[in-house]
Amino acid sequence: MGSEHRVGGKVITFGENINTDVIIPGRYLVSIDPAELAEHAFEPLGPETQARLRASDVIAAGRNFGCGSAREQAATCLIGAGIKAVVAASFSRVFFRNAINTGLIAVESPAAADAVSDGDEMWIDYDAGTVETRGLTFPFSPYPKVLQEIMADGGLIPHLMASFAAGGPR
């Protein structure tokens, strides 16, 4: 507890193989503004799902979350919708990279993803490597050092800017 990297709140759950076209349809990629994108996040699933998304803090999902396109806005739109972390049984590799690079916590934990229902609370601490929900604690392997550094700065671009400002190599 007390870690600055502990985030969480109310959960919205999704099933397996949630793809990028469902998360953010291609027609909206003309924008990179998180708030604008958030209005269209999960639009194919209808307004009820979209309303629940905006009232949630954490996404819990099954296998292969974010499969499909390399569109970074699949992560950005979730940030815009107020999502702080995605806990899934597994991720597609591009979504995982995009999440880290945009500062969205992405944690692979099949057990934690399986344990929650819509509306539960879930808290994630990526320093400690724990997911807490329903009074249970699920450990996960902490991020490798390079990913921790990116996340600590809020994403890849802020991380590079911080490193340049500190006189790091360009």
Binding site: P44, R93, N98, L160
Partner: protein
Amino acid sequence: MTGQTFAQKAIQRASGTAGIVPGQIVDAYPDLYMSHTASWRCIRTLEKMGVDRLYDVDRVAMVMDHISPAMDAKTAAHHALCREFAQRMGVKHFFDVNSGIAHIVLMEHGLVRPGQFIIGTDSHSTIYGALGAFGTGVGFSEITAAWVTGKLWVKVPESVQVVIDGELAPGVYAKDVMLKLIGDLGADGLTYDSVEFSGSYVEGISVSERMTFCNLAMEMGAKNAYVAPDDTTLAYLDEAGVPREELEVLLPDPDAAYRATVRLDGPTLAPQIAVPHTVDNVVDVGDVAGTKLDQVFIGSCANAKYDDLVIAAEVLAGHKVAPGVRLIVTPASAKIMARAAANGVLTTLIEAGAMITNPGCGACAGNGGAMTDGETTLSTANRNFQGRMGSYHSKIFLSSPATAAASAIRGVITDPREVVAEVVA
């Protein structure tokens, strides 16, 4: 010591780190950073960073393919930004809206070479494995970061061998093989894996068919895909103007360690089709034959190359597209379109009732060829996700160009072997 896979060798070359093993994270320096229509996002990000010096502008390749030509003032402004940037920064490898789909264009122009490590703002960047390169998709922030720093972090993947032996039956194509594999292994069956295709079938196929293979490997979650370069590859590279003395072919060692080996028997395969709304929802074409179609799309980086258009034209020659069905043909590149025009392939398609669009991603990226509620498209592309081609209440099936062409004639999903048999009889 165990030998190395292709992925280990390619990442070793790109990172300068010897003895790397799966799971290890290293910094790799890509040979090429491809950005497509997303390039404007990279430029805006660069502006935000306040950086105006690139690591190596000659490794930047920009292709305006996803929205071509511009569809409105906003996308026109994005294109203008990219043109101005390319001019100002001296980006040599800038391809405008008349060029075609990034992957195909870069390969045709000799910018993809065996052994290279290439990143692109497109998940189907796995396609570069068709020429023995390591290609993988990333987001636009990572391309921007590579523009500035020249590098990105890479986790060394495990590798899986996919061995396909034997010849395919008439009417069965590379697309059918890949759909079968995707159906069998699932949309995450090869997540994070490097896939090496081999076997007598793979040795015998063209670079275009290998592109179909490596492109679609992504639909199983693969990080990259690979076919070992051979004489077929060298002939393609000769045509693309790549000097042989510049080639650095990387081959996996015979004793390399694989996570798994998957085998598929070519001769027993029937035409395959992916049904809505996931690519791994695959059945024999015969199982859904008779399904009514509103539109057929022959396009995308998976299946709109020259030989794909020829196959479609052969099936459609002397036939007409069924009344009420729209057949859209979008050649993958300007070069392919010119060749198809010169050889009468486009005329055959037009006479059958097809509409030919300019080269690019077209309907696969949702630009042109959108559907309204309740409509169904049979597409040769690589994704059938809900809403990808217009209405969220429309359906997309995925097949080979032969199945698509045969189905356009009948107006319903049709096993191409039926139409070809009709022609022969």
